[in-house]
């Protein structure tokens, strides 16, 4: 079940009413209902996926208890923790990465003939997300950051909570698990804000991402048939497509969770207003970035080592992050590309230069900030070309075609109505996000006092979203990860 389906439009109000009115008086029943609803949500794709998530949840829950039991015998606890990590990563590896390695092995040693060694397993949606979420729990228990929960239902609710199950934010047990351990009370302001955030997420997904995606798919499907300017436009549109798609999903997820009295972590903080790559990575897919920081980068020594080791750690973290996105050389290349952009900043100690949002309380950024934003966006967009391409040769074709066929003669496509409308909606999104850049999401509407104006804005957004809605609307890009 996807957020942009009609089934979800029926599912959400039913679950909402049952959650508060039928199961609201008993915490255990409420958590059990969350698990049931989440399993229906996830099983809508394929009920067989439920077996995997149940195994992951049960093993992580059990290992948490065992680690705690043997907390005074570190060796045993370490083995249990390692076993749980290996099991979870093993499942992830088998489903997501095995065929990639088998194919690469066949290319190197079997003359490209991979028949007989491929598993051809269907990749369960969101497996990387819930696996990482489950892992964070057992690691945190091992580190003594949290107490394990004995309540299996509470833990299952933590792993499978449907709003963030398939594409994050990748929650930490320290934040989400305790919320399932205490009684939830309905908060009017939070629920209304949740609806606003959902609306804004739908706008970004349907009006910006899907609409840009039509052009991007067309161009990437026939790179030699397009001019350099068209390719550059496609790269730019993809930058907004992936942002609209993924941050839109996160907004819908966080907004939905608010309806159930659950506060999820922020996943995007206007990343395209960043002044350098380091700031971009503090604002893009925050839940994954901080996950890698806390569970991979810092254990490796982080930035408190020699410069050579810091460079190595940085390279490793970006490569792993790229590989997390999928079993393809393009993702590794994308990770390496960002590592190369990031290294100069971290090695010169400039990686934490911009911690606050750009322009502060000012209406507009100054010229220097504006140029920095543009440059960062251009670099990130170049990276998205690698990310979007089917394989590395396609990246090469894209870049060479863009440079070779860079005639400015054929600019008529810029006046194409579809092109203009895409650009217009991107500008609307950027404007709204700029205005709300200090808030949790673009549509907080804190400065809008008039009810009439607020409702007019809601209505306009709903109307435009409705008009761009397509029944066969593509799924969210990050589902494949």
């Amino acid at each position: 079940m996807t957020f942009n389906s009609l089934v979800f439009a029926a599912f959400l109000p039913i679950v909402f009413c049952l959650y508060w009115f039928v199961f609201g008086r008993n915490l255990k029943w409420q958590n059990a209902f969350v698990v049931a609803a989440s399993y229906v949500f996830y099983g809508w794709w394929d009920w067989k996926f439920l077996i995997l998530i149940a195994i992951t949840s049960f093993c992580s829950w059990g290992s948490g208890l065992l680690i705690h039991k043997y907390r005074d015998e570190r060796r045993k606890a370490r083995w249990i923790s390692a076993a749980n990590i290996i099991l979870n990563l093993g499942i992830l590896g088998a489903f997501k990465y095995y065929d990639f390695f088998a194919r690469s092995f066949a290319d190197l040693f079997l003359g490209g003939n991979a028949d007989g060694i491929l598993l051809n397993l269907i990749l369960p949606v969101g497996i990387s997300f819930y696996t990482f979420q489950a892992l964070s729990y057992s690691i945190d228990v091992y580190r003594g950051k949290i107490e394990p929960t004995r309540d299996i239902v509470q833990f299952f609710a933590y792993v499978s909570f449907f709003p963030q199950l398939v594409a994050g934010p990748i929650e930490r047990a320290t934040n989400l698990l305790p919320q399932f351990g205490r009684e939830r009370t309905f908060d009017y302001g939070q629920a209304v804000d949740g609806l606003r955030q959902m609306l804004w997420g739908y706008f970004k997904k349907i009006v910006v991402a899907d609409w840009c995606g039509v052009y991007v798919d067309k161009v990437f499907g026939d790179i030699p048939g397009h001019t350099g300017v068209q390719l550059a436009a496609a790269a730019m549109f993809f930058a907004f497509q992936i942002y609209g798609d993924f941050s839109g999903y996160s907004d819908i997820a966080i907004g939905t969770a608010k309806l159930f009295g659950i506060k999820l972590m922020r996943n995007f903080a206007t990343p395209y207003f960043s002044r350098d790559i380091a700031e971009f990575w503090r604002r893009w897919h925050i839940s994954l970035t901080t996950w890698f920081r806390d569970y991979v980068y810092i254990p490796m020594g982080g930035s408190r080592r020699s410069k050579g080791r810091v460079a190595l750690n940085t390279m490793v973290i970006f490569l792993v992050s790229g590989f997390w996105h999928g079993a393809n050389w393009t993702f590794l290349a994308w990770g390496a590309f960002h590592a190369l952009l990031f290294l100069p900043l971290i090695l010169t100690g400039n990686n934490r230069k911009y911690k606050e949002i750009v322009a502060g309380d000012r209406l507009l950024p100054n010229f220097k900030e504006f140029c920095q934003i543009l440059l960062t966006f251009a670099l990130v967009t170049a990276g998205w070309v690698i990310f979007r391409a089917d394989d590395l040769p396609q990246v090469w074709t894209f870049l060479t075609t863009m440079l070779e066929r860079n005639s400015l003669r054929d600019l008529s496509f810029l006046m194409d109505k579809a092109f203009v409308s895409r650009t217009f909606w991107i500008c609307v999104m950027l404007l709204v996000e700029w205005i709300g850049r200090r808030e949790e999401h673009g549509l907080c509407m804190k400065g809008v006092r008039s009810t009439v104006v607020r409702y007019a804005i809601y209505m306009a957004i709903i109307l435009v979203t409705l008009l761009y809605y397509d029944d066969g609307s593509p799924k969210f890009i990050y589902f494949q990860f």
Binding site: S421, L466, Y468
Partner: protein, 303 residues
């Protein structure tokens, strides 16, 4: 919680009413539009089809039946009643609505080809129906065939999704004269063959009773019927045997109901792509050559 639910309900009601009003306005604007894809329905539903010779068919009619040219050549009023992507079963309900609201024609020209004899489940450009969702006659005739979902019928603006802005901004075409659309270009590069071989065969058997009903109605009301097989570009894909089946079926029907059968499939222009927009449709230049021949034949037959 109570406050939240009440606010949700009130907001929902406000949005519903507002969208219903917007929906109504969109329908009004589209209903009054004399542009594609609304123009033909606009004329039919408004009762303004004032023609002696009316051509009925799919997009072939819209692009080939050059009404301006025929009006001046024949000296009578003509109208191109093209129903994009339609098959004959759908053309009959368009015809039924046309007849119920407009003066009768003297001659009906039916364009015959394999596509309009292949039944499909869905008509493209279904937005053409939207402005008349509230018209009783229209609902009675169209809804049983087109199968709009409940949400499309009852949720305001829902049916305009996908089409909405695009429809009002990009797709409106003003070069329409009494149902005819003059296309001045050939596709470049010109497609050499139709990429979609279509289903054909048993469907023509299913449609024959409808033809019989249509022809007998025309005959009883003194309306002459002319079957026209328009020219296609030489590379156009015919399902094997379809041309022969079409010819034999419609020659038999023509004999039975005293209709005429004019076959232009071998006009010399079929060799030259500059007369075509694509292998299936003529362009403006092609329509003039075709209508010149058609007008001469109609005159010769005493029409």
């Amino acid at each position: 919680m109570r406050r939240f639910l009440i606010r949700c309900l009130v907001s929902g009601a406000v949005f519903f009413l507002a969208f219903a009003a917007i929906d109504f306005c969109c329908s009004m604007v589209a209903e009054r539009s004399d542009r594609q894809p609304f123009n033909v329905w606009h004329d039919i539903m408004g009762g303004t089809v004032d023609a002696d010779v009316v051509a009925l068919g799919n997009s072939l009619v819209t692009l080939s039946f050059n009404t301006e040219y025929l009006d001046s050549t024949l000296g009578v009023k003509t109208y191109a009643m093209g129903f994009s992507g339609s098959q004959f079963d759908r053309q009959t309900y368009m015809y039924s609505l046309y007849r119920s609201r407009n003066r009768p024609p003297k001659v009906m020209v039916n364009f015959i080809d394999q596509r309009s004899m292949s039944l499909t489940k869905r008509v493209p450009d279904k937005e053409q129906f939207f402005p008349w969702f509230f018209d009783k006659d229209f609902r009675r005739v169209v809804f049983p065939v087109e199968h709009f979902s409940l949400s499309e019928r009852f949720i305001p603006m829902w049916r305009w999704r996908e089409f909405g802005l695009d429809l009002f901004i990009s797709r409106l075409d003003s070069h329409i004269t009494k149902g005819f659309k003059y296309v001045s270009y050939s596709l470049s590069p010109f497609p050499e063959a139709s990429s979609k071989p279509m289903r054909f065969g048993s469907d023509i058997v299913a449609l024959t009773p409808l033809w019989e009903e249509y022809l007998s109605r025309n005959a009883s009301e003194g309306i002459r019927t002319v079957f026209v097989v328009p020219p296609m570009y030489k590379s156009y894909y015919y399902v094997p045997g379809s041309k022969e089946l079409l010819d034999s079926t419609f020659l038999a029907l023509a004999r039975k109901y005293d209709a005429m059968f004019l076959d232009y499939s071998s006009l010399p222009i079929k060799e030259d792509s500059t007369f075509f927009r694509d292998p299936y449709h003529l362009n403006g230049k092609g329509s003039e050559v075709f209508c010149d021949t058609l007008a001469r034949d109609l005159k010769r037959l005493g029409l």
